[in-house]
Every structure is written in C-alpha cells, then in structure tokens.
Symmetry: C2
Subunit: 443 residues, 2 copies
Amino acid sequence: MANMDPIPVRVFSLNCWGIRYLSKYCSQRYHMIGDMLCKEKHDIVLLQEVWSEKDYLFLKKKLSCTHPYTHYFKSGVIGSGLAIFSKYRIHDTLLYRYSLNGYPYMAHHGDWFGGKAVGMAVLSLGNLTANVYVTHLHAEYNREKDSYLAHRVVQALELQQFIRHTSAGADVVILGGDLNMHPQDLGNRLLRSYTGLRDAYTETPNFDGCEGGVTLIADNPFISKKEIFPFEKGIRIDYILFKGSSRADIRCDSLSTTKGSVADSPFPYSDHEALTAELKLDSCVSAETGNDEAFKTPESSPGNLAELVDIVTEARTEVKVGLHCAERMRYTAARTGVMGLALLFLELLIAAVPWFALGAEQPFPQTSFYLLAALCFAILLTTSLLYIFYTIEIKSLQGAEDQMRLAVGSLHEKLRGFPVTQPQSSSQRSSEGQEPPALDPEE
Amino acid sequence: MANMDPIPVRVFSLNCWGIRYLSKYCSQRYHMIGDMLCKEKHDIVLLQEVWSEKDYLFLKKKLSCTHPYTHYFKSGVIGSGLAIFSKYRIHDTLLYRYSLNGYPYMAHHGDWFGGKAVGMAVLSLGNLTANVYVTHLHAEYNREKDSYLAHRVVQALELQQFIRHTSAGADVVILGGDLNMHPQDLGNRLLRSYTGLRDAYTETPNFDGCEGGVTLIADNPFISKKEIFPFEKGIRIDYILFKGSSRADIRCDSLSTTKGSVADSPFPYSDHEALTAELKLDSCVSAETGNDEAFKTPESSPGNLAELVDIVTEARTEVKVGLHCAERMRYTAARTGVMGLALLFLELLIAAVPWFALGAEQPFPQTSFYLLAALCFAILLTTSLLYIFYTIEIKSLQGAEDQMRLAVGSLHEKLRGFPVTQPQSSSQRSSEGQEPPALDPEE
C-alpha cells in the first residue's frame, strides 16, 4: 500500500446534560446543538448524556444529511446516554457495561440509574479502520472524600481492558467522552499508560480554549462555583484521546473548546464545554514485516513497564480500600437486619404476654402493634436489598482485584524478560517460553 | 520467525452442574473432577456452572501444582459460574456480561440469577498468543415453544461480537463451553459463520465418544428422558471451537467425550458429558506481508458473505419476534397495573360512602378493607417491577436489532464491493472509499 495524502478527521465530543424536565433549557439546547452540528459537519460526533431517545431521534433526523451513519447505545431502563453520529459508515458496534456504577440509594446523584458504559463503533476512514469509543464515567461529587473512587477506578480498569482487547485489529483508535477524572487522576493514568492513548490537549500544537483546557468552568452559567471548588478556573474532565498503530500514524493538528458561551445565544450548549479535535491520519507501512507487535507502546520499554506496574499497584490499593468499605457496609446492613428481626420477635413476645396472662382486661394496642410490625418488615426488606447489593459490589471489586493481580504478575514476568541492556540477549530471559511474542527474537 | 515444532494443547471443557445442596452428589463430584484433572493434566481447563466460590477454591488448591494459573470470573450475586485453569500463564482476563438472560420470575429456571457471561483469558502458548473464551448461554427448556429463543440469539450475537472484536491480536482462538444450542441452531450458525470458528467435533479425524458427539445423553443417570425429548440418543450442546490466524495454524487431532459413566465410580462427573480436545498449534508466516487481513475467513468470499447476510437477517427476525412478545408483556403489565389502581380508587370510594352517608350505624368492614388494599398495593408493586423489567428487555432487544441492522448494511456494502469475478477490478467497486481495507487493492 503506497502512502497517500493524510486523511483529515474532525472529532467532536460533548456531554449534553440532557435530562428532560430537569436540565435547564434542555430542548432549546438540543436545537442549538443540532444547528451547530449541521453547520460544522464534523466527521465524528460523540455525545454523552443524551438520556432521552426522543432527543436522539430529533438529532438523528436533523443530521440525516450531514451524518447519515449513527448509533444510539441502548442499555438499562434509562439507557447509556451515549450516541455517535458519523459521516463514515459504521460497520459494527459493541457496548460494554461497567460492572460498578455507584449506589441506587444515592438517587440524588443518579449515576446508578443511567447504566454507564463504553460504546464502540468500527468505522472505515478511507482505507483505514478506526475504532471509535465513547464513554461517560461515574461523577466525582466530593474530591476530598470521594466515596466513588473505587468505582471509578474499576470503570477505568474495565475501559482500558475493553479498548486494549478490542483495538488490536484497528488502524487507529479514538476515544471521546466525559471521564470525570482530572488529567493526573489514578484512573486517567491507568487508562493512558495501559492503552498508550495520547491526550489531544497535551499533544496538539494549536489549542484554542480555556486556560488549562478546562471543560467544567466557572464562566458557564449552568455551573455553580461549588461544583468545581477548589479549582476556581475549572477542571478538565472531558477528553479526546487517540492512538495509531503500526499501520497508521495519527496526530492532532488542533484542539478547541467552547468557552462557556455561544455567540448569539443566551446560554451555552451544556454545562460542559464541547471539544473539537482536528486529527490527521496517515497510513504507513512499518519498517518491519507489518506485524502489530511493532506498536506495543505501553510495554515497549522496561521504564514504561515499571511505571505501569506502579500504577496498577496503586489502583489495586484503591480497589482494596473500596472493598474494605463495601464489606463494612455489608456488615452494617447485616447487623441492622438482625436487629430488625430481634425487634420483631420481641414484639411478638410482648404481644403474646397479655394474650396468655391478662386476657381481655386491657385493650390490645392494635395500632402500635401494626405500626411496629410494619417498621420491622421495612427494616428487614431494606437491609436484605442492601445486603444483596453490597454482595454484588464486593464480587465486582474482588473480580477487579483478581484481574489486577493477574496483570501485575504478567507485567513482572515481562519485566523479567527484558534484558538489562538493549539489544535483547536470549540467555537473559527465562526459559519457560512464556514471554509474549513481542519479546521473542527470531529463533 | 522460523517454523518450529507444533505445540500440542489439550483443552478440557465441562459444565460441572455445581449447585450446592441442590445438585446431586455435588461435593463428591467435585472431588472426582479434581482427581481426574490432577491426573490428566490438561493444558487448559474450562469449567462452567461452578456456582460456589468455595468449590472453585477447592479445585484451585487441588490443582495448584498441575495448573498454577487460574481465574474465576466473578459477576452478580451468584457469579458467572465460569472458571479457567491453565498450565500457561494467564496474562489478562475480561468478562462480558450478556445484556439479556431470561426472566427473574422464572425462578425455577434460575438462569436470570446466575449472571450469564463470556470470560476471556489471554494466554501465551509457547511463542503464540491464545485468546481462550469460556461461556454458558441460557438453557433451552422447551424446544417446541422456546420462550427464551430471542434471549439466546442475542447472547450468541453478543458472544460473536465479543470474540470477533477482542481476538484480532490473538494468534489462535479457543472457545469452550455449554452453548445450550444444537449444532445447526440459529445462534450457533451465527457464531460460527461470523467468527470463522471451527467445531472440534466436525473437524477432528479421531472422535471417541457418544454417537453424534452428544453431551446430554440418556445414559447419564442425572438426566431424565424428559429433558432431551424427542432426541432419544441425546443432544450436542457443549462445544470446543477454535480458529487460527495468519500467524498460526490450528488443527484438532482428536476429540473425546465421557459416556455417561466414570470407571470405578457410582456416578459421572456431571449431568453433562466432558469434552477433551487435542489441538496442535503451528506458528507460520503467511505468504503475504503478515497482514491480518489475509485471514478474514467469514468475509473472504461473496458466498460466505451472502450466507452471513441470510443468517443475520434470520436472527434479526427472531429478535423482532422476541421484541414483539416483550412489548405485549409490557402492555399486559401496564394494563394490569392500571386495573389495580382502578380497584384501589373504587375501594376508597366504597369506603367513603358509609363514612359520609351512614355514619356509625353499620360497623366498617375493616379487615376486608385492609386485605383488599394490600392486594391492590401488591398488584401495583408487581406490575411496576415487571414494567421496568420489560422496558429493560425491550431496550436490549432494540439495541441488538439496531446492531444487526448496521451489520447487514455493512455486509451488503462489502458484498457490493466484491467484483462479479475474481480477481478484483477497482472499477466495479463503489467509489465512496468506504470499503474495509481487506477489499482495497494496493493503490
């Protein structure tokens, strides 16, 4: 395949904040978003928090000429809120639901009800295959005392696993979405180090947007200062990430974000700022035999591997902390349930005493009896549900921890396989033949 | 990489029927399974229905010398029941939960409670990377009137998607498990045609087992004739499937199954028969540039593509039928709920009449009032839960149908891209540049 002109790809990502009847000016904002997308004609549009299918269908109709290929990722009762619009044909899609996503009783946070997931679409961009991912992780409501940290770390773990395992056949990978993590947060480091994904903001030579690339800013009228405290200027939690392969190079020529307002409009598109990245794709033939192994970024050097081991270990610690919390919560639920049961028995006992001893002398306090019994049943029902819920949480956290232990073991094995100095010498490697192909010299 | 001696890989798969206290001789059977695995020393052991973690830990301890690498796929309250034991290091694992899995109110079928999923493990077999999958699909309780058909088809769809998208980087793919589908069932055809996976039973020159390779047989003392009616000799629903890549060949030298009894034991390992396949892996360098595209089995000829289109269309029809059913069920739930609400209002009305008109002349029928009110609330609660549940089912079925529509569109596009006769002539292809790389000649 001879080198051709680079393919320009404009990618757009926005968290639409589309909760009907609850988000401010929801319908007007969708009209604005639709008009803008129609005009701007991005190649790939990645939207999050499109909670209502009606709004998706509105956009689909509006963009039918500019973006004929589209997919809405359905999941759960409310849906995943994820949508993709594309100029290029979508060949295939796959949705991966995260195993953890907050607590159902934290209804005011609402994350649990929207089944958070990562959606994948396989596109053909010219002669290249692009795997495009869109996702939205659990929100961070209190950075100081973040009770969802373990959940978000597990989501980041699953996100990087899903991307790594599904993108081996892709020439380029593009991820857009609201990660709800600051650039140097654990989950973000885990994602970037493991997958080799590069951040459009740090990679681009031309950035036009708010200082520091922040996407949740104080200047946005839908944002209260409280939400971004103590970061007065805002925080960067929305990203466009990308990586190439041995078969294609990818670079980001420019990145721009909205700045809290839209010209000729009384309010912005959303409470998040929108990102637009201009990417350039270049198909290439690697110097080697065209083997994928040539582009195994995260595991290509002992330094990277060692860093990765540190990050996974750190993540494992966070998951263990979360596991400890969940176990304590389950214990509390069980104890409360037992107390409810004891109360019920006590009540039955008290009720039985006048029955046997006093006869009909005193009137039986029927109302109090029923009220107390109802209370006991309510306690038992609630604690049983909580117990089941925490058991699921514990299983998921244990599963994530198991996977991390495996990963650390495998990374250590690879690290041992590396010779002290380049180039590789086969005598320095262990002789079990368990190294990955990337490390095996020709035999 | 020069060709080396083929790597022999012995793969074992068994549905363990491990429901503690319910499955017959559960603990004794685990001891038998453990002893046998210890003795046989298969390279890869894939187990299903290991519902209790305690039983997994028992096997893990027992096999610690022969199978040092192991993973138990945790999910939901009960778990996925999937476990893998390996002689080779497991580098990475990933679990994908199917979006549909029966109905919670069909408690006697139990499928809904065990979170059915497909587990993946990445292994290094010598210098080759193997993606090993283990899964267990929803059971078929009534072949004539299979109310779970749509669910199983969606599971098969998700299984093939997951395998296709995660195996691009693998040299060989091995899948073992209880698919709960006959060899020519729709889901099975969908899985095999789309992924290019080959069936060990049909591929092997040496088969030792029951006639027709059946794995649920009348001779097994745990099986009642009713379960396999009208197939007197049994049915084949457990499989070992495999495929190679441009970088490795794989063949099945022999396949054997148990035959309903175990020597020196009063009962067999499980109600399913166990499968053992002897595979041979051969790393090779393809004649081409080593590009993966050389091994795109299912899409390599117009005939295959056309067959695939037919199968996906058939699957789409089944999903539509399931969708229609689910919508009808949701409608029934909604109507029953409305009737419950009407009954409640009627009751309140009746209660209000004596209150206003009759005063204290007649005693108020308190007990009946409360009982009827409790009934109304029970109806409302049940129908609300069912309504939510059916909504989730409908969303999942719609999602699957959307994906199939996309897939058919993409397959048609590829079919159009094929020239009428080989070799390819670029003038016959559409000029939009949206064909996948496999079809693009060198430019």
